[in-house]
């Protein structure tokens, strides 16, 4: 069962974290980043369905996955600013943040990179007899790269325990998904590899959690991969700044009306699990945490020049 209050807190934290980064960027205090505003339910719904043993691969749009997994916004922000206290010691910046301690491994900003790497991670899990499945987050655009095909086919024929999560947010940078494929289903391609494909409303955190839980359970039981497609929408631009001049206003408005955070809050209120006072307190807690995070990141030093070549070879 999904802890709704916890889910709401995480979703609000993700939102606040990304909006804080946008603000910092506006002030010239942080580099531009790729936000997943509007997609928080997908990240929290999937990650909340995983166990601590499970591993996660993500991509350039990773903040939701990391925070849902318990990443500290302060260390994330420090990383985005290229500071020494970031999860990668400032060597990643915003685009390829791995946090091995949290089980978030091999983050690549090459679209499709995560798909090419997750099979090897899953192979290690099976051959080294480790518990834990592998979750690979990627976008609808990544599903057009050849690696999608190669990865799903290998995972199917080698029977690798991978939960493929295609976060279909209708956009691939500045290109609408409709321009890149016929039809609307990416999950539908799973059948071609002899594996199961599932589609879920990516803005309904409970629905995502349920679908991911079921898929993960099936993967643990069968050792076989599953492709889960979460349908959602990128409410902000590809990266900051982006005026979204190329976005259809009506489509954007329709999706804004289905913003997953108010959706969950309203549902909890209706169920008597939340009232304005509690929501207010939550907002304040989150805001305070983010303020602290900014302070931490600002205070963190930059890596020294030796870091340039410190990690090239093991």
């Amino acid at each position: 069962m999904l802890d709704l209050m916890d889910a709401l807190r995480r979703m609000m934290t993700i939102r606040a974290y990304e909006e804080t980064l946008v603000a910092l960027h506006g002030e010239g205090r942080a580099a531009g980043t790729c936000t997943a505003v509007g997609q928080e339910a997908s990240a929290v719904g999937v990650v909340s369905a995983l166990t601590p043993d499970d591993l996660i691969l993500t991509n350039h749009r990773s903040a939701g996955h990391l925070i849902a997994r318990g990443a500290d916004p302060a260390r994330l922000m420090a990383e985005v600013m290229g500071k020494r206290d970031g999860y990668c010691g400032g060597m990643s910046g915003s685009l390829h943040i791995s946090a091995k301690d949290l089980g978030v491994v091999l983050t690549s900003t090459i679209v499709g990179g995560e798909l090419g790497l997750c099979t090897g991670v899953a192979l290690s899990q099976t051959m080294l007899k480790r518990p834990g499945i592998v979750t690979c987050f990627f976008g609808d655009g990544a599903a057009a790269e050849g690696r999608f095909h190669e990865s799903l086919n290998l995972a199917a024929v080698w029977s690798l325990p991978i939960l493929y999560v295609c976060e279909n947010n209708e956009w691939q940078a500045f290109v609408h998904r409709r321009e890149t494929m016929l039809g609307d289903s990416i999950a539908g391609r799973a059948a071609g590899y002899g594996i199961e494909g599932v589609t879920v409303d990516g803005n309904d955190v409970e629905a995502v959690h349920a679908a991911a839980t079921q898929a993960a359970e099936r993967i643990r039981r069968t050792g076989r991969p599953v492709l889960l497609e979460t349908r959602s929408y990128r409410l902000r631009g590809h990266y900051e700044p982006d005026d979204q001049s190329y976005v259809d206003a009506a489509e954007l408005a329709a999706w804004k009306a289905r913003d997953p955070i108010p959706l969950l809050a309203a549902r909890m209120t209706a169920a008597g699990l939340l009232d304005d006072a509690a929501l207010g307190r939550l907002k304040d807690e989150v805001a305070a945490a983010l303020e602290a995070a900014v302070g931490f990141a600002d205070a963190s030093p930059y890596p020294d020049a030796a870091a340039l070549t410190a990690h090239v070879y093991a």
């Binding site: 400032g90 685009l95 690549s108 057009a144 691939q172 290109v175 890149t180 930059y302 870091a307 340039l308």
Partner: protein, 331 residues
């Protein structure tokens, strides 16, 4: 071209102008890539959705489609965005466009252009910023250029589009939005031929050889050096393949000293090629070791101060030039 009265435009605009002029001149020219039709909305308006296309997110098939189209009558330009993404298109560029002409005994030609950006300046890190131009210089059948000014970006792209061979045009992220003088936009004959270097500053004592962003660093160093009584010549290669060996050798045979500078890593980089050409063909004129100054052999960092420290800076170039002038050197 009169630099005083010339318009000031950015490299990004210069590329747009080159595309527009060449598409107007030749119906067979088309451009496609991930977001090209969204970002170059003016081209879309002018030439329509057949000739200005967005694509699915798949560099391999973008480059392959360009090669197949080039061999059968079109003259495609593809934007692969950032140089590291070319890793997904190496087969199409190297094994197909670079080799199938020879393998078929000359039955096909590949008049196509691949655009990509790279270099420090945006803090995007090593998966967006990796200067791999040397890979393509090392591959047969390809041509490679990397401009240091908006005017050269425009002129080289126009030359590349008119060339019957596959040309890779890399542009420097750090220079993308720096304005520079470019001739009248209707000047369709503003062509910078592939294979011709430019002497950016004349000098007697030492030759500084570079391309892209670090040409400007060399010019700054040359200024410092002048203040210290050393007259440095600065050569902007512009084309990496074909390489203007004549320009390099003519200068080094006069100065007797050469320093090769670039942001790309050292091992088997462009600097190695230039140094080797000099060591073989201008040896008798050399009065000092040929010095290479390159970016570290390491993935490019995102963190601001590290990225600033990545490419060779003017002080390092000045110091190397002064060392070279303290001839003769011990082994």
């Amino acid at each position: 071209m009169n630099e005083i009265t010339a318009r000031q435009i950015t490299t990004s605009d210069a590329i747009g102008e080159a595309l527009a002029e060449e598409m107007r001149r030749d119906d067979r020219v088309l451009v496609f890539g991930e977001g090209v039709a969204t970002k170059r909305i003016d081209l879309l308006a002018a030439f329509g959705p057949q000739r200005v296309r967005n694509t699915p997110l798949a560099e391999g098939i973008i480059a392959g489609t360009a090669a197949g189209a080039a061999a059968t009558g079109l003259r495609p330009v593809v934007d692969l965005l950032f140089a590291p993404f070319l890793c997904y298109a190496m087969d199409e560029i190297v094994n197909s466009a670079g080799k199938l002409r020879t393998l078929s005994g000359g039955q096909f030609a590949f008049p196509m252009v691949v655009l990509a950006q790279t270099g420090s300046g945006w803090g995007v890190g090593a998966q967006h910023n990796h200067n791999i131009e040397a890979w393509f210089v090392h591959s047969p059948g390809l041509k490679v250029a990397m401009p240091s000014t908006p005017a050269d970006a425009k002129g080289l792209l126009k030359a590349a589009i008119r060339d019957d061979n596959p040309v890779l045009l890399f542009t420097d992220l750090g220079l993308a939005f720096a304005p520079g003088p470019v001739g009248a936009s209707w000047d369709e004959e503003h062509i910078v031929p592939l294979g011709k270097a430019a002497v950016r500053r004349e000098g007697r004592d030492v030759t500084l050889i570079s391309y892209a962003k670090t040409v400007h660093t060399c010019l700054a160093a040359a200024e410092d050096l002048a203040g210290q009584g050393v007259s440095a010549e600065v050569i902007d290669l512009r084309s990496l393949k074909p390489l203007d060996e004549a320009a390099i050798l003519a200068s080094v045979r006069r100065t007797g000293r050469a320093i090769v500078v670039h942001e790309a890593g050292g091992p088997c980089g462009m600097g190695a090629e230039v140094a080797a050409v000099i060591a073989e063909k201008a040896f008798a004129a050399l009065r000092a070791p040929v010095i290479r100054l390159t970016g570290p052999d390491a993935p490019a960092p995102a963190s601001f101060p590290l990225e600033q420290a990545f490419a060779p800076n003017a002080d390092a170039i000045t110091a190397a030039a002064l060392r070279a002038c303290r001839e003769p050197l011990p082994a």
